[in-house]
Symmetry: C2
Subunit: 222 residues, 2 copies
Amino acid sequence: MKRSRAPLQVSPQPALKLGRPERTRAAILNAAFDFIWAQPFRDMTVGSLMAATGVSRSAFYQYFDDRHELMETLLEMLQDEIFDVAQPWIAGVGDPVALLRESLEGLARVGYRRGPFLRAITDAAATEERLETAWKNFLGRFDDAACTRIEADQAQGLIPAFDVRPVAVALTRLDAYSLLEAFGQRPRSRPEPVQEALARVWISTLYGAKWAERDSSPLVRR
Amino acid sequence: MKRSRAPLQVSPQPALKLGRPERTRAAILNAAFDFIWAQPFRDMTVGSLMAATGVSRSAFYQYFDDRHELMETLLEMLQDEIFDVAQPWIAGVGDPVALLRESLEGLARVGYRRGPFLRAITDAAATEERLETAWKNFLGRFDDAACTRIEADQAQGLIPAFDVRPVAVALTRLDAYSLLEAFGQRPRSRPEPVQEALARVWISTLYGAKWAERDSSPLVRR
DNA sequence: TTCATGCCTGACACGATGTCAGATAGTATA
DNA sequence: TATACTATCTGACATCGTGTCAGGCATGAA
């Protein structure tokens, strides 16, 4: 069972100039990536994971406290990648509808590429408190960012006045679990319909249905 | 540790005229209800569960294959209760916005009452294939129902034309995971803001923002 | 009271986890 | 190159939760 095209790699150059510990750690992470890409988290035991590394099972504990801490590492690796693609709407200037479309397009793309990993993280979060907290914090960052943006646009009269937080939380969950549903396990759905559905819901809710159509010309101004 | 007001009860009359096996089965279920009400599913071992029943651990396996099958039973018990409160919009006639508000109000109410149980079910679903499938089927019933209703209203020109399925799936996930977020673990949030947020998103997306305000007079006609 | 049914129990084997003392490989020094 | 030191790695162990089994015992019928 050889790895043709790893979905994630710790070290692009297999083992260029790494000390032994770094190499082992990378081997564990790569084995985890491969595993999660192909199988659900519940089947990933420390034993089955380390069997793919050529290193003994107990060596695992030199690098991670347990499976869940490994998943926490994985979450940290994905966290910024995901948050970054949402930046246009979060922090951008210009036509907010276009920015929102751009952010959601990015989210759908990265969700598609990393779906199985996100899925593994949420599965793991159900069985351990620490990781559950980390996942909630991750979502919370989006909640906060969405609140800020919505409030700013409300102040400009672009979004109707309403109690922001619950709506922001709901929309964040919409994104997270729509992506997990569509891309969390292979075979994955096509990204386009998902992206369009998210855009429709977000835009209708915040800016009004008249902007929700794909071809509605936004008031471009950048 | 006595049970003051059980969140769910199998037999209202403690043990009126039940044979021994039925009584034991009910005791297990009640113990599970109490446990889940107070602690996360991950801490519910067969041992800790049966300790609360006065029956030996191994007796558990006479009634359930494992913890997950027990949770599947719990899901079956909740399934109809939840699906029923959504009926107004799913199958009702009259002002669709008012019906939708009614359904979402019901969902928020039952979500509030059963939140910890739903949470336990999704947590358990992450660790076992069978239950995962059952949960997906449960959500799928809502997806199908929402699709049907949306298509009907589209045919009447009440909802703009768009690719229905992805939007229905997204909105269903919005509901499920908003309720889980708000009510899945105690202390639970207040239901009203959650309900209003759900209503705003659903109504804006499907029927347009002009109906999204709480006090907008719907075209009542019943 | 006696008998038969089948629920219940304690003990067992298994699998996964996390730890530990000792073996060993890698690295710095002479 | 040889030596010694450091820290990784290993196999074995104790623990915990699971699911099964043969035998004991409560329950209800005759």
